[in-house]
Every structure is written in structure tokens, then in C-alpha cells.
């Protein structure tokens, strides 16, 4: 379309040659240009498409955001507001009682501290390990390279629920090279005469992360591998020619290069560890209220149904809706730190993966 414009109106073709002159000479006034543009049917179609696209995006954004608005609005309601059908979004008597109750009853701050610490540890280990393993798979030709990659994908495919019981038993009585149904004798049993109990601590998480086996770690390794495949080999070759070893090259050239991708993976693993409830149930199984219990975010949500505020209203009309509102408030409190982090980091999330030059 632009091409035809240029051929029919000579004034515009001049513009490309000498801009200053044309600007001075036969340029149409703003009004004339506007009228000309509006008379083209193309402009209207384009504008229509743009508006439609904008409305569509706005609609989908609303679907994503509305639950947050509804839940946050609900969190400031009293019991009477919740069961009042004339109250939709804005509570009649805004109050902080649900927040106060959750903080007082559900060990919120302890769970926050534990979860933040665990997520930070896991995300750091997982990011570095995925980078390390992914680089090995992407850049070195050795026997079994393809098998390792297949195993990475395999660990992603196996549903972790299928492993939950066996995982729980293995970490409750941790031993190397021991299969429970095959006599259950391993290295620690033979050397120390006993097995190690690792549950109700962060050790299982750390071990799994170190082996690249934690939640969705296969995805991180895969993403890192794709990223390193896009890095030209010449870069390392020139470093080798200059006398740098493989590991020095990795730490001094490759690692700084992959920081955008690492930030993306850090964000993934941090936030997915934060909202994880499966591994919390397997690795930290102590009963609520016992001394060895490590409180995590899922416990804050689980405890909602035992809160006195809920129990005292048992049997009253609309108590299910009230429970739901409290549960949602707990959910909002659980993810609020994540949302705040996301607001600051979201540009890195997109940038990292955009610049990664991810290839299929």
C-alpha cells in the first residue's frame, strides 16, 4: 500500500531523497493529510482491527484480573457483607478482621519466613544446576548425551503423584542404593547401621534440586539447553585458542552471557516453589501443631477450616460462602509477595526469554 502511494503522489517520493527540502516545499497541511488518510478505506479497516484487537485484549485481561479484584474485595468484608446479596464488590463496612484472624491463627508470618527461605534456596540451586547441566548437554559431544536428554524429558513426564508414597518412604529413611522392596539395605544401613531421617527439614528439597530433579526442573534444563544451542560455538573456540580451559570459559564467558535466561528461570522456580503444595505434603509431613512441624504456605490455607471464626459460624446460613471468602483471602495473602515481586521483575521475565533466541 505504501508503495502505491509513493508512485501516485510525487511529493512523497521526494521526501525520501531530501527530507528538509520536501518538508519546506510542497508538504500538505495537517488537515489535508488527515482528510486524505481518512478517505482511504484501508485506514478505516486498520483502525477497526486495532480497536477490535484492543477490546479483545482488554476482555481477556479482565478475565485474568477479575478474580483478584473479587477476592481482594471479599477479603475486606464482614460476615454480614458476605451473605448480603446486595453487596457485590464494595463491602458496606470494610474491615481487616479476616486478615487479622489469619495472621493470629494460622502462623502466617512463620510460614512466610519458611517459604521465602526455601524458595530462595531452591531457586538459586535450581537455576545454577540447570545452567550447569544444560550447558553440558548442549555443547559437548559425549557418549550418552542423547540418553541424558531423554532422561531429563522423562523426569518431566513422570507424574510426581505416582512417586509420592515411595518418595515419602525414601526420604523418611534415607539411604543410598536401597530399594525398599529389594531388602531395603543401602550404604548407610551397612556402614552406620541406621538410615537417615530427612523429612521435616529442607534437606530433601536441596538434594532434589542439586540433582536437577526438583519440581519442573526438567523444563529448566530443557530451556537452558535450547538457549546454549543458540550460542555460537566460535565464542568458546576463540576462548580455547586464547588458552582458557573449559570451566574457566564457562564461568567467565558463558555464565555472564546467560544471565537474562537465568533470571527467567529463577523467577519460574522461585514462584513455583512458593506455591508448591505437593512436595510440602511429602517432605514436611508432620501433623499440624506438633513441634517438628515446618509451617509452609499450604498450611496457612489448610488451617482456614479450623479457624474459630469459621467454626463459630458452623451451621449458619451462607457459612460455605464465608469459608470460601476466608480461603480466598488466605490465597491472596499467600501470593501477595509473589505478585509484588512480579510487578518489579515482569520485564525481566519477558526480556530474558525474548533475548534468549530460543530455538526449536
Amino acid at each position: 500500500m505504501e508503495m502505491t502511494n509513493q508512485t501516485t503522489t510525487p511529493i512523497v517520493t521526494k521526501e525520501t531523497k531530501k527530507k528538509i527540502q520536501v518538508d519546506y516545499e510542497g508538504k500538505l497541511t495537517v488537515k489535508e493529510r488527515l482528510m486524505k488518510k481518512l478517505s482511504e478505506s484501508n485506514t478505516w479497516i486498520k483502525a477497526g482491527v486495532n480497536v477490535l484487537r484492543f477490546i479483545l485484549m482488554l476482555g481477556i485481561s479482565f478475565v485474568i484480573i477479575y478474580p483478584f479484584i473479587a477476592r481482594i474485595a471479599g477479603s475486606f468484608m464482614t460476615y454480614n457483607d458476605v451473605i448480603d446479596s446486595t453487596v457485590a464488590i464494595i463491602p458496606k463496612t470494610p474491615t481487616l478482621e479476616i486478615y487479622k484472624a489469619i495472621i493470629a491463627e494460622n502462623n502466617y508470618f512463620e510460614a512466610l519466613k519458611n517459604t521465602a527461605l526455601l524458595s530462595l534456596i531452591c531457586a538459586l540451586i535450581q537455576t545454577l544446576i540447570s545452567c550447569w547441566i544444560g550447558y553440558g548437554i548442549a555443547k559437548f559431544k559425549f557418549k550418552g548425551n542423547k540418553i541424558i536428554m531423554a532422561l531429563v524429558v522423562f523426569t518431566m513426564i513422570v507424574p510426581h503423584n505416582a512417586l509420592s508414597l515411595s518418595m515419602k518412604m525414601h526420604f523418611a529413611q534415607f539411604d543410598l542404593f536401597s530399594v525398599i522392596t529389594w531388602g531395603n539395605k543401602g550404604v548407610f544401613q551397612l556402614l552406620l547401621g541406621r538410615k537417615l531421617s530427612l523429612t521435616n527439614s529442607f534437606t530433601p528439597y536441596i538434594l532434589m534440586s542439586l540433582g536437577g530433579l526438583a519440581f519442573k526442573n526438567g523444563l529448566y534444563i530443557y530451556l537452558m539447553r535450547q538457549f546454549f544451542k543458540g550460542v555460537p560455538d566460535e565464542l568458546e573456540e576463540s576462548a580455547y585458542v586464547d588458552g582458557s580451559g573449559v570451566f574457566r570459559t564457562f564461568f567467565q564467558i558463558i555464565l555472564p552471557l546467560s544471565i537474562p535466561m537465568m533470571i527467567t528461570i529463577f523467577l519460574f522456580s522461585f514462584s513455583w516453589q512458593w506455591t508448591d503444595e505437593f512436595y510440602a505434603g511429602v517432605f514436611l509431613p508432620a501433623m499440624l501443631g506438633s513441634d517438628s512441624k515446618v509451617y509452609m504456605m499450604p498450611d496457612v490455607y489448610q488451617l482456614v477450616y479450623q479457624m474459630p471464626q469459621v467454626i463459630s459460624k458452623e451451621g449458619m446460613a451462607g457459612v460455605d460462602i464465608y469459608k470460601n471468602v476466608i480461603g480466598n483471602t488466605a490465597g491472596m495473602m499467600i501470593i501477595m509477595p509473589l505478585i509484588i515481586m512480579y510487578l518489579f521483575c515482569q520485564k525481566y521475565l519477558v526480556q530474558g526469554i525474548e533475548r534468549s533466541g530460543l530455538v526449536g
Partner: protein, 307 residues
């Protein structure tokens, strides 16, 4: 192969060997993790489906070998399992294309220059951060999100985003099966879940779109290609490897999440033997689906450069 390579690059063979050794050092943590931690867990989980576990003295267990009894039980003894397995797989078959199409569409739109693009991007990737694990189960038992996905029937016809009645009236005179219409209505009502499940896929598609060079689009525009042609002749082939990656990821994500129908059903089976057997049957059937998808997809995938 190795020799010609060496001649070309004029490099002593020892460097290749050193590099191979370095490669092992890089993947060593993973190998150790697999051998020391993962394999025993995996094996035990597999054996649990062949053994009867009976609690013995002092918290120990006795194991009695049962062969394929639990597998036979899963297929013949409990009728619910087969039904749940089939409906879970059916859900997968409808959900995967929906997620792929939706996320590709959104990624293409977000890749264009438009008003408020940065804000839309920020909003659309919120589900990446928060739609897993705990939030998934909160969503599952929640009034607000079931309102969004049309799960609540409060008597009026205004549930969900579109009313099923209207769509069914629309399609009644067409020669389309009622079941299919029902599925499509479900999908549209499920838009909230579809959006929540397609965060990572959008991100991967967006990365793929960014890696397509502008000069190809420019050349086609000069040759007079319309936007529609450009999409099908350039964007789609270039993005096709990502479609496979995303399809596999969506399948894995969908069947390992705890809100999956089959997963939910197996969780209700309390005995370890039958439950383990069911998990493995489910797992194997999903592997078969992934293999089929990868096989079909590899016929139309276009790789820009061969590895």
C-alpha cells in the same frame, strides 16, 4: 566423522577427548541424582504396583508379590477407573488444541505494536507465576473462579460467559453432533482455565516469534503478501517447532496437575497397590499420546537449520 572434523579444525584429538570428559563433569550432578535418588524412588513406585503392602511390627512393612493382579483389577475390577481414564484423556484431547491455539493467538497479538502492549504483557504473564500448585487447588474449590468458568448453576440462565442454551440453539439445525457442541461450549466456558494454563506456552511462542528475522516479513510485504498469507506462509512454519514443544508441555502439564480428572480419581483409591498400578497405566497411556503427537507433528514441522 571425528577425523574429518579434526582435519578441518586442525585440532589435536586430545582436546576432543578432554571436552568429552568435561561434558561428563557438567552432567554429573544429574547422573548422580538419577542413580542415587530418582531411580530407587521410581523402582519402588513401580514395584508397589506388583506387591501387596501389609503393615508389620515396629512400623515396618511386609511385601507379598502379587504379579499383575492389580493391573487386572484396574481394568476389570473397578469400572470407574476405565471411565475416568477415558474422560481424562478426552479432556486432554480437547484442552491441548485449545491451549495451543489460544496461546499462539495471544502471542502473535502481543508481538504486534499496539496501544498498551507492555501493560497487556504484564497482565497476561501473571498466570505463569501463580497458576500452579496451591493456587490451582484454591481455584478448584473457589466460588469466584467457578463463576468465571461457569461451574455454578444458580437457576438463571446467565451462568458462564456464554449460555449453553443459545449456542445449542445456534447449532441445532447444523449437522454437528450434540456432544461436540457440548464440548465446545465447555471450552468457551472454561476460558478462565485455558488462560491460566497457557502462560508458559505464550512465553515460549513469544520467544519463538521474536527469533523470526524482520527481513523475511519485509521481503514478503514488498512482494505484496497480505497479513493472512504472511502468517500461514512465514510465521506458522517458523513457529512450528515451538508448537510441538508446547503441545508436549501442555500434555505433561495437564495430566500431572492435581485437578486432572484421572488424577483426582486415583487419589481417592486408598490401597497402595491398585493406586500405583493405576498411576502406571495412566502414565503409559499418556506417554503413548505424547509419542503419537510427536510422530504426527514431526511430519509438518519445519526446521530452519538442521542440527
Amino acid at each position: 566423522m571425528e577425523k574429518t572434523l579434526n582435519i578441518k579444525r586442525r585440532r589435536p584429538a586430545s582436546l576432543e577427548k578432554r571436552k568429552a570428559r568435561a561434558g561428563y563433569v557438567f552432567v554429573l550432578p544429574f547422573i548422580l541424582g538419577i542413580v542415587l535418588i530418582y531411580l530407587p524412588i521410581l523402582l519402588d513406585s513401580l514395584w508397589f504396583s506388583f506387591y501387596n503392602m501389609q503393615p508389620g511390627k515396629y512400623g515396618t512393612y511386609k511385601y507379598v508379590f502379587k504379579g499383575f493382579e492389580y493391573y487386572r483389577f484396574a481394568f476389570t475390577g473397578s469400572k470407574d477407573f476405565v471411565g475416568n481414564l477415558l474422560s481424562g484423556l478426552q479432556q486432554l484431547i480437547f484442552e491441548v488444541p485449545a491451549v495451543i491455539i489460544f496461546s499462539l493467538f495471544v502471542a502473535v497479538v502481543l508481538n504486534q505494536k499496539m496501544l498498551g502492549r507492555a501493560a497487556f504483557r504484564a497482565i497476561f504473564f501473571v498466570p505463569v507465576i501463580i497458576s500452579t500448585g496451591l493456587m490451582d487447588s484454591i481455584n478448584g474449590s473457589d466460588r469466584v473462579s467457578s463463576e468465571m468458568s461457569g461451574g455454578i448453576d444458580d437457576g438463571s440462565n446467565q451462568t458462564g460467559i456464554i449460555s449453553a442454551m443459545q449456542v445449542e440453539e445456534l447449532f441445532r439445525d447444523m449437522a454437528i453432533g450434540g456432544q461436540l457442541v457440548g464440548k465446545v461450549v465447555d471450552l468457551v466456558n472454561n476460558i478462565y482455565n485455558i488462560i491460566n494454563y497457557s502462560g508458559v506456552q505464550m512465553l515460549i511462542f513469544l520467544a519463538g516469534l521474536q527469533s523470526i528475522s524482520d527481513s523475511i516479513y519485509e521481503a514478503s510485504r514488498i512482494d505484496g503478501a497480505t497479513g493472512w498469507e504472511t502468517f500461514w506462509k512465514i510465521t506458522f512454519p517458523m513457529i512450528s517447532p515451538m508448537i510441538l514443544v508446547n503441545a508436549v508441555y501442555t500434555i505433561i502439564d495437564s495430566f500431572t496437575r492435581s485437578s486432572n480428572i484421572t488424577m483426582k480419581y486415583i487419589k481417592t483409591v486408598s490401597e497402595t497397590g491398585p493406586a500405583s498400578a493405576m498411576y502406571w497405566i495412566y502414565f503409559i497411556s499418556v506417554i503413548l499420546i505424547i509419542a503419537a503427537v510427536a510422530g504426527v507433528a514431526s511430519t509438518f514441522i519445519f526446521y530452519q537449520r538442521k542440527d
